[in-house]
C-alpha cells in the first residue's frame, strides 16, 4: 500500500463503521460517484469499476 492511499483507507473504514451496515452501500456508492467525478476521466473510471468487480467471492 502506498503512503498516500492509507489515509483514504482509514477514513473509509471509519465512515463505514459510522454509517452502519444499512447505510454502507449508499455511502460507498456516493464515494464511488464523487471520486469518479473528481477523476474526470470516464474510460479510466469505468476500467477501475470493472476491475473492482473481480474477486468479490471473498
Amino acid at each position: 500500500m502506498t503512503a498516500d492511499i492509507e489515509p483514504l483507507y482509514d477514513l473509509l473504514a471509519r465512515h463505514i463503521d459510522a454509517a452502519g451496515p444499512q447505510m454502507t452501500p449508499l455511502f460507498l456508492a456516493k464515494v464511488a460517484l464523487a471520486l469518479g467525478h473528481a477523476l474526470n476521466d470516464t474510460p479510466r473510471a469505468l476500467a477501475i469499476v470493472t476491475a473492482c468487480a473481480k474477486n468479490l467471492e471473498g
Binding site: P25, L26, A29, K30, A32, L33, A34, H37
Partner: protein, 531 residues
C-alpha cells in the same frame, strides 16, 4: 375517473361538446383516398396536414365527443411549429402556459434547477402546458372549417380487409353497418387501436416496473409554471411526485405507487384524495382544492416493428407507447401525423412516387427508439427497476444535496427533436459545413421581420446564402439570405452554400457551392423513389 356523483365527462372547467352521427341519408359508401381512424390530436393533425397540401380525407371516430380527461399536457416547441404550419396555433398560444424551468427536490431540498434552451431567436417557447381537451377542441376548430375534411362521429370500425390497392373498412354507426373503400388508411386510434387488433399486429418492447397515478385538482395556488419533481418526499417515502401547472387553475399531481400497492385500491377516490392531500401539504398549499379527474399508467416502451402494413399506416399511440417522463407521447404522435401527412399528400396527388412513403417507418420509428433510449434512462431514475439502480439513484440524489454535478443526473432529458440524419431521404452534400446538420430540425432565427420559420414555403424550401441562381421546381420555394447577414453569421454559412428544408422543417440536404442541377436532381431522387 371522476369523483362520485359526477359523470365521466362532468368537468369542473371544460364543457364537452356532443357530436351527432352522420344523418341517415348521408352518402356513406363513396370511396375515399384517405380514411383516418381516430379523431384525436394525431388524426386531426394528419387530416389538417393532408388538407394543407390539397388532399381530402375522412376522419372517423367511435365517440361522440373528445377524449375524457386532461391526459397529455406538455406540448413541445416542435409541436407548436407543426400547429403554426397548419395555421392553427393561435388559440393554443392564447390559452396554454409556456415554461422553461424545471426544479427537482430530494427529501424536500432543491437539488436541481434546469432551464430548457430558449432565446429571442425562437418563435416558440420550449414547452407549453395545455389540457388535452383544449388541444382537441382547438384542433377541431381548424378541422371543422376545413372543407377537405369530412368527419364522422359515432362511427366505429368493425372490420378491415386489405383489398388490392387499398383497404375495405366495415363501419358501424347508429344507422347500421356499411363498407367503404379507402386507398390509404391512417390508424390514429390510440393505444388500444382497433385497426392494430383487427390486423393482428402486436406492439413489442418492455414494461417497466412502477405505476403512477395522475390526478388533476383545481386550486388557487400561487406558483409559476415550473415543473416540480419531488424525489423521496415525506408524503411518499421512496417514491417520486411530479407537479405541473395547467390553465384554469388546474394542477397535475403525478405520483408513483409503492411496490405491492394494488392499482385498483390506489385509484379509489378516498385513496387518491388522501395521496393528493399529502402532496399538497408537502408543497405548502394551505387553501382548499377540488378533485377534477384521475387516471393510472405504467411506463412502457412498446412499438410496432413496421408502422406501415400495406395501405394501412399507423401514427401516434397506435404505433408506439412511450413512458411519460420524456413528454414524447403526444408530441411524437403529432410529428408522425405531420410526417405521413405531407408524404401521403404528395403521393396521392402524383407529385411524388409511392416510394416516398418508405421513409416514414425509418424516420418515425427511429424517433420512437430514440425516445425509448432516453425514456429508459429517465424511467430508471424515476422508478429504479432493481436494487442496483435504486442504490445508485439514491447515491446521486444524496450527493446532489451538496453538488450540482450530481443533480444533472436527475435531468429528465426532455424534448430534443429527433434527427433524420439516417433517413433514406436525407443527404449531406457538405459535411464540413458548420450550420444545421442534415436531418435536424431547422433552428429558428429572429429576422428583421418575423422568424426564419415564417419564411418557409408550403413544401420544400431552399435557403441560399448569397445571390440564389434560378432553381425552378413546382414544390420548391427559394429564399436567399445575404452572405454577410445575421443568418449567415449564425450558421457560419459561406457564400454559395445552401440548405434544403423539408415540409416538416427538418433539413433534407445541404451543399456548399451547389448548382441548380444538384438541387433539382436531389429533389427528383427523393420524390420519385419507386416503391
Amino acid at each position: 375517473m371522476r369523483p362520485a356523483g359526477r359523470g365521466p365527462l362532468e368537468s369542473l372547467y371544460f364543457t364537452y361538446p356532443h357530436f351527432d352521427a352522420p344523418g341517415p341519408d348521408h352518402d356513406r359508401t363513396r370511396p375515399m383516398q384517405v380514411a383516418i381512424i381516430g379523431a384525436g390530436p394525431v388524426g386531426m393533425v394528419a387530416a389538417l396536414e393532408l388538407a394543407r397540401h390539397g388532399q381530402a380525407s375522412l376522419l372517423i371516430d367511435a365517440k361522440d365527443t373528445f377524449n375524457d380527461g386532461s391526459r397529455a399536457i406538455c406540448v413541445a416547441r416542435a409541436s407548436y411549429h407543426i400547429l403554426d404550419r397548419l395555421g392553427a396555433v393561435q388559440p393554443f398560444l392564447d390559452k396554454s402556459l409556456p415554461w422553461t424551468t424545471g426544479r427537482s427536490f430530494y427529501r424536500g431540498q432543491q437539488i436541481l434547477e434546469f432551464e430548457m434552451p430558449d432565446s429571442a431567436d425562437e418563435k416558440f417557447r420550449p414547452m407549453y402546458n395545455l389540457q388535452q381537451q383544449y388541444i382537441e377542441a382547438f384542433l377541431w376548430q381548424a378541422v371543422a372549417r376545413e372543407p377537405l375534411i369530412e368527419t364522422r362521429w359515432q362511427t366505429e370500425l368493425h372490420g378491415i380487409e386489405i383489398t388490392g390497392p387499398g383497404a375495405t373498412l366495415t363501419l358501424r354507426d347508429p344507422h347500421g353497418d356499411y363498407t367503404l373503400h379507402a386507398r390509404y388508411v391512417l390508424a390514429a386510434d390510440g393505444a388500444r387501436s382497433a385497426v392494430r387488433r383487427l390486423l393482428n399486429l402486436r406492439l413489442t418492447g418492455e414494461n417497466y416496473e412502477g405505476r403512477y397515478v395522475i390526478a388533476d385538482v383545481r386550486m388557487d395556488h400561487d406558483h409559476p409554471t415550473i415543473r416540480r419533481a419531488l424525489f423521496d418526499p415525506a408524503c411518499r417515502p421512496g417514491g417520486t411526485v411530479l407537479i405541473h401547472r395547467q390553465p384554469d387553475d388546474i394542477w397535475r399531481i403525478d405520483y408513483q405507487l409503492r411496490d405491492g400497492e394494488d392499482p385498483r385500491d390506489a385509484t379509489r377516490e378516498d385513496r387518491v384524495r388522501a395521496s393528493v392531500a399529502g402532496v399538497l401539504a408537502e408543497i405548502g398549499h394551505r387553501g382548499g382544492w377540488e378533485l377534477e379527474w384521475w387516471s393510472i399508467y405504467s411506463a412502457n416502451t412498446l412499438a410496432l416493428d413496421d408502422y406501415r402494413h400495406g395501405p394501412v399506416i399507423f401514427a401516434g399511440d397506435s404505433a408506439h407507447i412511450v413512458p411519460i417522463f420524456g413528454v414524447r407521447g403526444l408530441n411524437n404522435g403529432l410529428a408522425d401525423a405531420q410526417n405521413i401527412g405531407w408524404k401521403l399528400a404528395l403521393v396521392l396527388s402524383g407529385r411524388a412516387g409511392a416510394g416516398l412513403l418508405a421513409s416514414y417507418t425509418p424516420e418515425r420509428r427511429g424517433a420512437t427508439l430514440d425516445v425509448f433510449a432516453n425514456a429508459s434512462k429517465s424511467a430508471r431514475f424515476m422508478t429504479p427497476p432493481t436494487p442496483g439502480w435504486a442504490l445508485m439513484r439514491d447515491a446521486a440524489l444524496s450527493l446532489a444535496l451538496r453538488h450540482d454535478w450530481a443533480g444533472a443526473l436527475a435531468n429528465p432529458r426532455q424534448m430534443a427533436p429527433y434527427s433524420y440524419a439516417q433517413s433514406p431521404i436525407s443527404a449531406d452534400g457538405a459535411p464540413s459545413l458548420r450550420g444545421p446538420s442534415v436531418g435536424t430540425m431547422l433552428p429558428d432565427k429572429a429576422l428583421t421581420k418575423g422568424f426564419l420559420s415564417d419564411r418557409m414555403g408550403p413544401l420544400f424550401t431552399l435557403i441560399w446564402f448569397g445571390k440564389a441562381p434560378t432553381v425552378a421546381h413546382p414544390l420548391l420555394t427559394v429564399i436567399d439570405q445575404p452572405a454577410e447577414g445575421p443568418l449567415a453569421r449564425a450558421w457560419a454559412a459561406p457564400e454559395g452554400s445552401a440548405w434544403l428544408i423539408r415540409p416538416d422543417l427538418h433539413v433534407a440536404a445541404r451543399w456548399s457551392g451547389a448548382c441548380a442541377s444538384d438541387i433539382l436532381s436531389f429533389l427528383d431522387t427523393i420524390l420519385e423513389r419507386q416503391a
